[in-house]
């Protein structure tokens, strides 16, 4: 449950229960921004917007960044930041493509390898911030650079395609199978686009981890008050290393999805994804000061970003104005989902 926003005053039992239900889903207000965008989408482009394929496409395009955002949320909850996830996604996608192109590995072999690669660099991030006590901003910025360099070096600056044809001119079985990761048009039961499924599953798993397990509680404690956490016997170092490792691991998982989506691994893949991922988390209510945020919020933040793009795109808003409107709507969405919105509108006092 870990309600992360100041809940409204508890008045009665019933209200308390309702509040609990809502806060279990994140924070009720977080949805106002999303509702706003949905409303605009429906009002302006009704059917086209609500079309299942359109929504799937929109969320699918963001899925790999959404998965990064989940990892980044973990790190942000402990009071750190992870700028390296874009690069980690890049090297994981390159790893996936190379494993496929050079060694014809099966998807179920590729995913664990990519996750280990990501987790390894994530672990280094954690080690640097704890043992060397480098601010995570610097450590992960350095990692961003190092990993991008390695990615470019191993790939020789050439993108590697994943649609490997066998001697018969058709895709190899492995390449065929690899498409499930998200080549557009490859859906489960011909309907459910795999990356969207993967994103949702990742959200659910990490929502449960954060709300139901000891580890989750420790993540919030480390971000909320590291001294108190340490004095309570929480192994702050271990938790910190763990969240960076998990963030790296998720970036590793997002790598093959990105490669399949693009049908290739580009040495530049994932560049600046970290900003989208962090933005999703923060729009979803995570505080960069740590201790505050939910996966549900991040999920909503990701939806806001991607549907906003979609609505603006469908309405054929010119690109320059898209940038302007996007910025403005993000501000409006964030203000709308403030828990004390109504106090605030009444010109309420400051905290």
């Amino acid at each position: 449950m870990t309600a992360v926003r100041t809940p409204p005053p508890v008045k009665a039992r019933g209200e308390n229960r309702m509040r609990r239900t809502l806060s279990a889903l994140g924070a009720a207000q977080a949805y106002i921004g999303l509702v706003l965008i949905l409303a605009v989408g429906i009002a302006t482009k009704g059917e086209i917007f609500l079309n299942e394929t359109n929504l799937t496409n929109a969320v699918g395009a963001f899925a790999s960044r959404g998965i990064l955002a989940v990892g980044v949320t973990l790190v942000i909850l402990t009071g750190g930041i992870d700028l390296s996830v874009g690069s980690l996604l890049g090297i994981a996608s390159m790893t996936a493509a190379m494993m496929l192109a050079r060694f014809s590995l099966e998807p179920w072999q590729i995913v664990p390898i990519c996750m280990v690669v990501g987790a390894f660099f994530g672990f280094l991030n954690g080690a640097g911030t704890t043992w060397l006590r480098i601010q995570s901003f610097v450590m992960t910025l350095a990692m961003l650079s190092v990993v991008r360099g390695l990615d470019r070096q191993v790939s020789d600056n050439v993108s590697v395609g994943t649609q490997i044809a066998g001697p018969d001119g058709k895709l190899t079985p492995q390449a065929e199978a690899f498409q499930v990761f998200g080549t557009p048009g490859h859906n489960l039961f011909d309907r459910i686009y795999y990356p969207v499924l993967a994103f949702i599953v990742v959200c659910i798993v990490f929502h449960l981890i954060l709300t139901k397990t000891r580890f989750g509680r420790h993540v919030y404690a480390v971000g909320g008050n590291p001294t108190a956490a340490r004095l309570s016997g929480v192994n702050v170092t271990a938790v910190t290393i763990a969240v960076f490792t998990l963030s790296g691991m998720l970036a590793g998982f997002a790598g093959p999805i990105d490669a399949a989506y693009s049908a290739s691994a580009d040495p530049q893949a994932g560049q600046s994804y970290e900003l989208d991922a962090i933005a999703a988390a923060v729009i979803g209510g995570a505080s960069l000061a740590g201790g505050k945020g939910t996966i549900a919020g991040t999920f909503v933040g990701a939806l806001i970003l991607t549907l906003l793009d979609n609505v603006l795109g469908l309405n054929a808003v010119s690109d320059n104005w898209q940038l302007v409107i996007k910025g403005l709507i993000v501000v409006v969405a964030v203000v709308l989902q403030r828990p004390d919105l109504f106090t605030f509108l009444r010109g309420g006092s400051r905290s």
Partner: protein
């Protein structure tokens, strides 16, 4: 209660140095089962440091610790817990964004959370301490006193052999203190050893079996009998005169501050008590006390006068002119100062130096062409800090590394430097040792004698009774009584403070 019982804890020749500070030097301590040992000493004597070592806060130290007759290697809080040692730290150490239940069991949860179990256990513990809070309440919604009791509950929730309490009562009023004693007696009855740190000597008389005195990081001696004057002599190394030097019934001047029907709405979720129609006056040269139970709104009253909260109704005058501060800045400009309740959260920039902190509100006085005249400012800070006997290597020392009591002195120094005409003090002697307390009391008297007004909220009734010309009593945001000096007694004040039943009825 007998000290003949088996020894649970032995600390031998403990030493600890910080950069530039020798905090402890060869201190030994033994504690027996079921015994309450009080640890006494001036601010900065090394009490917290010694106990922090026991609780595993520090990795390195010199000396040896034995628990239950066996050498214990304690280098982390986990080690301490393994040996059955729990500590209530001097500074509150709770995670504001987590619920009370989550905080109580932090670090001891099951891998998969057992929410129902922990909440039930939490409710039980809270009830035992007389706290009427839901286990799901977020700690950030709790008042300071409640938080301190939550810390107590947290320590109690563990199966302990040795319980360390570092000034557990500094934010508590009498009623809660009594309840805490009950809890302690209950524990010692079950054989738990308690090490108790407090600067309130009268508490020690009531609860401690034995007193150990530290001075400048050294073990000075111990006594089974509590003789106040002797203990003070041991602590400060010199005899101390009158504890409460305020002369009775000093002549007072004109009305300095008048508050008429002040109402301040509480803020949902922040645990703030709303004020309802509070009226009071403070005359020049007068010390007015504010008494009340926890959550009575004393802090809100002082904060509202200081412009922290926006008033919904009422009027104030200061020095005869209307006074409607819209921010602390405006209040300071009118010569008002507030020694806030929570030094760590409200008063100090812990990561910065003493000089920075003390100078902060008075910088305007040291400006020359918009530039801070650093030399002049530092000299003034230096003087003020010396006057209050802050124990520190210099004014460039980081405030966060000072002992709790010395931090409190820094807060006082900071406000005295603004040369206020009205000084509002919220628990001004919280965590201050007896010697320094006497000095601060003398200082309050001196301020009053200079024609300043002092409005002081305190949970220590003896302090209020001894220091104040008048005592107001608050209950649930209302003034329920006012006693002139001499007519105020502990019983009368408590009765007025608990007037809530009549009020709400």
């Amino acid at each position: 209660m007998s000290s003949e019982a088996g020894t649970v804890l032995t600390m031998r020749a403990i030493g600890k140095s910080f950069p530039g500070v020798r905090a402890l030097d060869g201190v030994s301590l033994t504690v027996a089962e079921g015994e309450v040992v009080a640890l006494l000493g001036e601010n900065g004597a090394g009490k917290s440091t010694l106990m922090n070592i026991l609780a595993g806060v520090f990795k390195d130290y010199e000396g040896e610790i034995e628990v239950g007759g066996q050498v214990a290697h304690i280098h982390s809080p986990r080690d301490a817990r393994r040996h059955g040692i729990a500590m209530i730290h001097q500074e509150l150490n709770l995670v504001p964004e987590l619920s009370i239940a989550d905080n109580l069991f932090l670090g001891r949860e099951r891998a998969l959370l057992d929410r129902r179990g922990t909440e039930a256990r939490t409710a039980e513990l809270l009830r035992g301490l007389g706290l009427d809070l839901s286990p799901r309440t977020l700690v950030k919604q709790c008042k300071i006193a409640e938080r301190q009791l939550i810390e107590v509950a947290k320590a109690l929730s563990q199966n302990v052999r040795v319980l360390v309490m570092d000034e557990p009562t500094s934010a508590l009023a009498d009623a809660e203190v009594r309840r805490l004693y009950g809890v302690i007696r209950d524990l010692t009855g079950r054989g738990v050893a308690v090490i108790y740190i407090s600067h309130r000597l009268e508490e020690l008389e009531e609860i401690a079996d034995r007193v150990v005195v530290l001075r400048d990081g050294r073990h000075i001696g111990e006594r089974h009998r509590i003789d106040r004057d002797e203990l003070i002599q041991m602590m400060v190394g010199r005899p101390l005169g009158e504890m409460f030097p305020r002369a009775a019934g000093g002549s007072t001047g004109e009305e300095l501050l008048t508050v008429e029907g002040l109402s301040v709405p509480g803020e949902p979720g922040s645990g703030r008590t709303p004020l309802r129609e509070v009226s009071l006056t403070v005359r020049a040269g007068e010390i007015v006390g504010v008494a009340g139970l926890m959550g009575a709104g004393r802090s809100e009253l002082l904060e509202s006068i200081f412009g922290v909260h926006r008033a919904a109704g009422g009027a104030m005058t200061l020095g005869g002119r209307p006074y409607r501060p819209k921010s602390p800045k405006a209040a300071i400009r009118r010569g008002v100062a507030l020694v806030a309740e929570d030094r760590k959260a409200q008063s100090l920039v812990l990561g910065n130096t003493i000089g920075f902190n003390v100078g902060l509100p008075s910088l305007g006085r040291f400006l020359r062409l918009g530039v801070v005249a650093a030399r002049r400012a530092n000299a003034a800070v230096e003087r003020q800090v010396r006057e209050l006997r802050v124990k520190a290597p210099g004014i460039r020392f980081t405030v966060g590394n000072l002992s709790g009591g010395n931090q409190q002195k820094v807060v006082l120094a900071k406000w005295l430097l603004t040369a206020p005409s009205l000084i509002l003090m919220d628990e001004p002697t919280r965590g201050i040792d007896v010697g320094a307390k006497a000095e601060i009391h003398a200082l309050m008297s001196a301020l009053a004698a200079e024609g300043k007004g002092v409005l002081v909220a305190s949970s220590e009734l003896p302090e209020l009774l001894a220091m104040c010309d008048r005592v107001l009593v608050l209950c649930e945001g209302r003034v329920t009584a006012e006693f002139p000096r001499g007519r105020a007694t502990q019983e009368a004040i408590l009765e007025a403070a608990m007037a809530r039943r009549q009020v709400t009825a």
